[in-house]
Amino acid sequence: MCAPEATNLSMHKQLPFCTLKKQSLNMEILSKIATNDKHGENSPYFDGWKAYERNPFHLTKNPQGVIQMGLAENQLCFDLIEEWIRNNPKASICTPEGVHQFRDIANFQDYHGLQDFRNGMANFMSKVRGGRVRFDPDRILMSGGATGANELIMFCLADPGDAFMVPTPYYPAFVRDLCWRTGVQLIPVHCDSSNNFKITLPALEEAYQKAKEEKINVKGLIITNPSNPLGTTLDKDTLKSLVSFTNQKNIHLVCDEIYAATVFNTPSYVSVSEVIQEMENCRKELIHVICSLSKDMGFPGFRVGIVYSFNDTVVNCGRKMSSFGLVSSQTQHMLASMLLDENFVTKFLEESSRRLAERHDKFVKGLEEVNITRFPSNAGLFCWMNLKGLLEEQSFESELKLWRVIIHEVKINVSPGSSFNCSEPGWFRVCFANMDDETVDVALKRIRAFVGKEGTKKPLGFKRWRPNLRLSFSSSKFDHETVLSPHSPIPTSPLVRAT
């Protein structure tokens, strides 16, 4: 589902204006970028958003409305932040306590960013990684949210026509962020449930070689760790192999770590920045990290995107480019205070993690009660739900059909796996951190009711979801033997995929 974050469906509204006559300007007069589809908003997945917009759920005012579970937002810890704000009026330049700093802050447009802000970010980033890495504030570049940061790093690393490899399934808006104005193309690296969506060296090689054969210039690999939509973190060995692979191919490695502080369970988080500390002969100048406060702290509105590069030239050029998307100095100033408050940050991260775990567990338990399984995860603001058993047939058409049923009958907006370029149908991402407990209860109730109904249907010739056909689920969340393929009656099922 492209552009899930920063859109509002009223974009389709007719633009009214006084006596403006019908627009007759020849459309060739706009650029190719302006007239192509890479902004991603013409995709069919907008049905879900439209349904929500038309009929948004509200616990008391509209309890029959559509529940928004397609938006990866972190709303669990605002009370902690609000308390901090109340106790720290100096952090705002609008309060009586803080207004004496107004003019200096309002006047500050240096693209280096406020020193305190950079120090605060470096501090935060380090804490999120358990203090196992120290970040240099002088390598911290700002940009317009992670959206801006991802685009910026592409502008620095790749020319129009060049390519970046990206493991599937991936965040749908990568097409807009990485490709739209940059002219870069994406090469998917296929991962699937047969081996728990692991990013394997053969898959990487296959994607790389295919690109080479088509004379496409591959400039790098971009990974998201923790993963959106899977909600899992990469283990150290995999990370090392990715660093080695990219080093060896002489290409860049961009690690989108914007969900780093949403890890709520073991295994604990390993960032690429830690891994490269341990690798001798690693070419750091090929490594770049993307951070943000949108997911970790729940501040998407503040547009805090960070590019952290180990490459000096990228830092220098990226800093100049950040002019196009600097963080408001008012916001930098407030966040500097907050992020430099060590006690607060420690407390926040611990509590956030605890609440996410709690919310995750509650939701997953609810799903399990109706035999819906999900990909075991230890991070993120969502579950990667397995609804293969509810598909009429194992196809993307069926997936979309099921999705429409979920939106219009169950009245929950979820994101179908195909929108994430997932190579196998039946997966759905469902967000659980953007609502209160009561709403979660309503959602689970609706899901229970729906699955209960579906369980009694007897569709012709289709694999039926039988209540006793449970995926094996050991108590250790990371016993990776699950998945359907060995049980599939269809010999050429797309589920069985050689890697």
Binding site: E5, P16, T19, I33, E41, A106, D159, D162, Q330
Partner: protein
């Protein structure tokens, strides 16, 4: 005895290694000199005075007063209510209250002579982003925008760097006070044609930076007719519109369109910002106002890369919807800038230095060509500039950095300092001129 194999250096993009960001130009030495030895009234009275930065610092007290009187409205209040909704708000349409306030503010600046529809306001993080974004929308790599000289040096970066679009200058000179003539427009268009470069639009700055003057009505009408004939776009960067010393002297392209019943208006787009008029460059508040539906929709989508912090939108929505505050601010700001301008221009006149007759902006366009004598070249100008930087200890902007075709002109900013500092600067210029006269 090993063989050393050189590691291939991984290429960055062409954009990354190009110099189109413009920061390697010689005039950045001025910034360095200032950074190394910045003037301070008390602690470093012999330091370099920064007169190369077009910032508006004359009206902060008005903003501070507003905040002191309305701190509840502009913060999240005592209980921080509304914080959560604000922190989550990332809709690229922007806060409706803010867009409405911006539209209304833009109307007030134009004395109500043009109406602005909040639905056509697109928000970006600064005019820097707005100009780049519009360029991405109206031109393809390799195509061109026509821009009158002299122009803001940052355009080289904003319009060209990541977009791959070219700038073809529309030459203007002092023979007619640097006004844009129909002949100059045609000549620029022809120059592009001869280079096999397709022209997609004209970008003007009104009031002009660095000239510090508004564009006359009939010149605007000519430009509009020109772009209509050629079927290209017009971008009017009006970020200094609130800094016109007298409201009646500014004509916005919006007024002309209104008077023409919006005929052919779909090719026109206005850029605005609060960095100059309100002195808030740190807040990154830019807007695009387009009369073209497709441009509005596309610009809005593209603004995802450069949204304004919702915290800042919230603060400014409250401030700018207070009509009595904005009326007073606009009026007072104009008056103070006018006074500064007069002080500057009279001070220069008293030592024989003429400026272009200006009526807007945060700077004046100073003519030092008489000092160049037989060195009326770009090199001569840079030599003089160096002397001013290192002997007079003033950082001013040489015309060549603004692509001015006539050597000897300099942009001097006067609104980014106290009156006392301006006095010191004028004193230094006085002594410098006396020294020169002796030789």
């Amino acid at each position: 005895m090993g063989i050393e194999i050189e590691q291939p250096c991984v290429q960055l993009s062409k954009v990354a290694v190009s110099e189109t960001h413009g920061e390697d130009s010689p005039y950045f030495a001025g910034w360095k000199a200032y950074d190394e030895n910045p003037y301070d009234e008390l602690t470093n009275p012999s330091g370099v005075i920064q007169m190369g930065l077009a910032e508006n610092q004359v009206s902060f007290d008005l903003l501070e007063k507003y905040l002191e009187e309305h701190s509840e409205a502009s913060t999240w209040g005592k209980g921080a209510p509304g914080f959560r909704e604000n922190a989550l708000f990332q809709d690229y349409h922007g806060l409706k209250s803010f867009r409405t306030a911006m539209a209304s503010f833009m109307e007030q600046i134009r004395g109500g002579r043009a109406k602005f529809d909040p639905e056509r306001v697109v928000l970006t993080a600064g005019a820097t982003a707005a100009n780049e974004l519009l360029t991405f929308i109206i031109a393809n790599p390799g195509e061109a925008l026509l821009v009158p000289t002299p122009y803001y040096p940052g355009f080289d970066r904003d319009l060209r760097w990541r977009t791959g679009v070219n700038i073809v200058p529309i030459h203007c000179d002092s023979s007619n006070n640097f006004q844009i003539t129909p002949e100059a427009l045609e000549a620029a268009y022809k120059e592009a044609e001869e280079k096999n470069t397709r022209v997609k639009g004209v970008l003007i700055t009104n009031p002009s930076n660095p000239l510090g003057a508004t564009i006359q009505r009939r010149v605007l009408e000519n430009i509009l007719d020109f772009v209509t004939r050629k079927n290209i776009h017009l971008v009017s960067d009006e970020i200094y519109s609130g800094s016109v010393f007298s409201s009646s002297e500014f004509v916005s392209v919006a007024e002309i369109l209104e008077s023409r019943g919006y005929k052919n208006s779909e090719r026109v787009h206005i850029v605005y910002s609060l960095s100059k008029d309100l002195g808030l460059p740190g807040f990154r508040v830019g807007t695009i106002y387009s009369y073209n539906d497709k441009v509005v929709t596309t610009a809005r989508r593209m603004s995802s890369f450069t949204l304004i912090s919702s915290q800042t939108q919230h603060l400014l929505a409250s401030m700018l919807s207070d009509k009595s505050f904005t009326e007073k601010y606009i009026k007072t700001n104009r008056e103070r800038l006018r006074k500064r301008y007069q002080m500057m221009v009279e001070g220069l006149k008293s030592v024989g230095i003429e400026c272009l007759k200006g009526n807007a902006g945060l700077f004046c366009w100073m003519n030092l060509s008489p000092l160049l004598e037989n060195k009326a070249t770009r090199e001569g100008e840079l030599e003089l500039w160096n002397a001013i930087l290192h002997e007079v200890k003033l950082n001013i902007s040489p015309g060549s950095s603004c692509h001015c075709s006539e050597p000897g002109w300099f942009r001097v900013c006067f609104a980014n300092m106290s009156e006392q500092t301006l006095d010191v600067a004028l004193d230094r210029i006085r002594s410098f001129m006396e020294r020169i006269r002796k030789y």
